[in-house]
């Protein structure tokens, strides 16, 4: 292992270990137990978005297969832990392996055929999710159409009571997944994937084993998606085909990764944090009464609209995502975050911690959304109108670091 890997491993271990004891502090600190489950959900989305991004974000192959890999994970727990009576802890690794086998078999076929690049690849992976769902629906050993209740699963009690246990399981899987994504990014595999993203044929002619690299990344991506799905089955507690194989998972991981930035492992983390906290607050928000109570707007229903608007905005305005902007202008982002929290406190003093966090992150997003290109243009415009002597065009501003 080289030095950066050791540093990264140490950093991740320390952070994960610190969070491991968070459930034990629940009593002394007196925060609501709900925060542990909220933390679990956040960690779940970290794992899902990171696992998707380690293949698609790095290689540029747009996959809708996430739903299938997640679904294989969920149903492995359903079948093995509920129907066959396996302990959950034993079912989780099997779920990862089964999802990886599905990913590798799919990859073996589609990566061999050059015709299946681009949009066709995306469609094939989407189709696979439908096929997997159809098989699960028909087969009575898997689901058979009636769904599976998971109330009899043997849970790992040594991890604590239900909220603590979920939080810790989510923590382990998210940590391992994010660590894998960060390690891939800086390894030979990552370099290979980024060069495939730019020009696959040239990458191959410069020695990149393109087929092997795509297989490895797709297999790992599926593996972690499966692991995470296996734990999430417990959270869902009653699994049905319609719910598990809905478009929700593949859609959300895409929105999260695009928003955060797909070329860095931190991108999906940032995106997942924003999207999940935002949708959570919208789901729980009380109805908005307008015009003296004559018109009632349920914020819950605004959820999908907001996600849709974000997606449109991001496709139009945010090409490289928020993470690179946050790195470039961290103090601006931090300042806007604090201003957002202060505004929220003044406006609604009784707002919850998560609500304040959402207000802060919305402030940061608004400040960071305009790209550096727009800002430079504005600065140029101001400098040219402000003083006639100022240089009107500054070459190379956009790409300088």
């Amino acid at each position: 292992m080289n030095r950066p890997t050791v540093v990264r491993l140490t950093g991740f271990s320390v952070l994960a270990l610190a969070l491991w004891f968070l459930p034990a502090l629940q009593g002394p600190l007196g925060f609501p137990i709900f925060y542990l489950l909220f933390g679990y959900s956040l960690l779940f989305w970290f794992a899902q978005a990171s696992s998707w991004n380690m293949f698609t974000g790095f290689s540029g192959y747009f996959s809708f297969g996430q739903g299938a890999f997640y679904g294989v994970g969920v149903y492995t727990t359903g079948v093995l832990a509920s129907k066959q009576g396996w302990p959950l802890i034993a079912a989780i690794p099997v779920a990862g392996v089964l999802a990886a086998v599905l990913g590798l078999s799919l990859g073996f076929v589609v990566f061999r055929l050059r015709r299946l690049q681009g949009e066709i690849f995306a469609l094939v992976t989407l189709a696979v999710a439908f096929v997997v769902a159809a098989i699960a629906r028909v087969s009575s050993t898997i689901d058979g159409g009636s769904g599976i209740a998971l109330n009899n699963v043997q849970l790992p009690e040594f991890l604590g009571a239900y909220p603590s246990m979920m939080f810790r399981l989510g923590l382990i899987i998210a940590t391992v997944t994010i660590f894998a994504a960060a390690t891939i990014q800086h390894s030979r595999l990552g370099w290979g994937l980024f060069s495939i993203n730019d020009d696959e044929a040239v990458a191959e002619s410069l020695g990149v084993p393109t087929f092997r690299h795509k297989m490895m990344a797709f297999g790992l991506s599926a593996f972690f998606a499966g692991l995470s799905g296996a734990v999430h089955a417990i959270q869902i507690s009653y699994i049905t085909i319609e719910d598990v194989f809905s478009i929700r998972i593949p859609l959300f991981v895409i929105v999260m990764s695009v928003l955060g930035g797909m070329r860095h492992w931190m991108g999906p983390i940032v995106g997942a944090t924003i999207i999940h906290t935002l949708t959570d607050r919208l789901n729980r928000a009380s109805d908005l009464e307008l015009f003296g109570g004559n018109v009632t707007v349920s914020l819950d229903h605004l959820n999908d609209i907001i996600i849709g608007l974000l997606l449109i905005l991001m496709v139009l305005a945010v090409k490289d995502g928020l993470w690179p902007r946050l790195v470039r202008r961290k103090w601006v982002g931090a300042g806007a975050f604090i201003v957002g929290i202060l505004v929220a406190r003044l406006w609604a003093p009784e707002m919850s911690l998560i609500g304040q966090f959402v207000a802060g992150e919305l402030g940061a997003v608004v400040i960071l959304l305009p790209s550096s290109e727009v800002i430079d243009r504005w600065r140029n415009w101001r400098s040219t109108t402000g003083s006639p002597d100022a240089p009107s065009d500054r070459p190379g501003v956009g790409a300088s670091r």
Partner: protein, 243 residues
């Protein structure tokens, strides 16, 4: 010593035969010029020899090893490198990282952190050291062609295919590039150059192979090939005679 040998290379695109059984060799240390009118099959031959495209028939031997079915990335590791007629840099990367890819995956097999250091040496060779950490979108055509050279050379190849490195350059840049090609040859690398500017091919090549309509029509010393009646006809007269 025979470095590269190819026998009976056929390539068909649909019903059109781009190459109809081309054979030849490249000796160690040679500069082989590939000439011929547009559509004669020069680029197709380079694509096949570098592993970019597969032949329908034929056999390729490199350094005594049959590489006909060897994937392109293994050929690069073995020492076969190429450049592209229209430069194809990795557009999201800096100049340095473009070269680093070759150092990571080529014969040198460096660790990424070492590769980004070593890349500077090859950028310097190509006169691009000052652009190392700039986005490739800021390089002009001449610089992009040099970046392709740096990328190909970084893995210390034994043979380098240069596909129209001079196309689109101005006279000053062409003179510079000719000097660069000589410097590359001085590193001990055998070269195959495809070029439209016949004056340049004549000046650089130790041997010339002329192609027309997917077949070798002449081969030998530059002055002999250029005088060959069939070569003259392919370049100047064939259309008039048939019309």
């Amino acid at each position: 010593m025979k470095l590269l040998q190819f026998d009976g290379i056929h390539k068909r695109f649909g019903g059109v035969a781009a190459l109809g059984g081309v054979s030849g060799t490249l000796e160690e240390g040679e500069i082989l010029g590939l000439v011929g009118p547009n559509g004669s099959g020069k680029s197709t031959l380079i694509n096949i020899l570098s592993g970019f495209a597969e032949p329908n028939e034929g056999q390729i031997t490199f350094a005594g090893v049959d590489v006909t079915d060897t994937e392109a990335h293994h050929r690069f590791e073995a020492g076969i490198a190429r450049t592209y007629q229209i430069p194809r840099p990795f557009s999201s990367m800096t100049a340095r990282n473009n070269v680093a890819v070759s150092l990571i995956f080529g014969k040198t097999k460096l660790h990424p952190s070492d590769a980004t250091d070593r890349a500077l040496q090859w950028l310097d060779f190509a006169g691009l050291a000052g652009f190392a950490d700039q986005s490739v979108s800021e390089l002009n055509l001449h610089q992009l062609k040099y970046l392709e050279l740096a990328r190909a050379l970084a893995s210390e190849p034994r043979v380098l295919f240069l596909d129209e490195v001079l196309a689109g350059l101005n006279p000053t840049e062409i003179e510079e590039s000719i000097l660069m090609i000589r410097r590359i040859h001085d590193l001990g690398i055998s070269l195959v150059i495809v070029e439209h500017v016949l004056r340049v091919v004549n000046a650089l090549s130790t041997r010339i192979m002329a192609l027309n309509q997917g077949l070798v029509i002449a081969e030998g010393a530059p002055e002999d090939v250029m005088k060959d009646p069939e070569v003259v006809r392919a370049y100047l007269g064939s259309r008039w005679k048939h019309a």
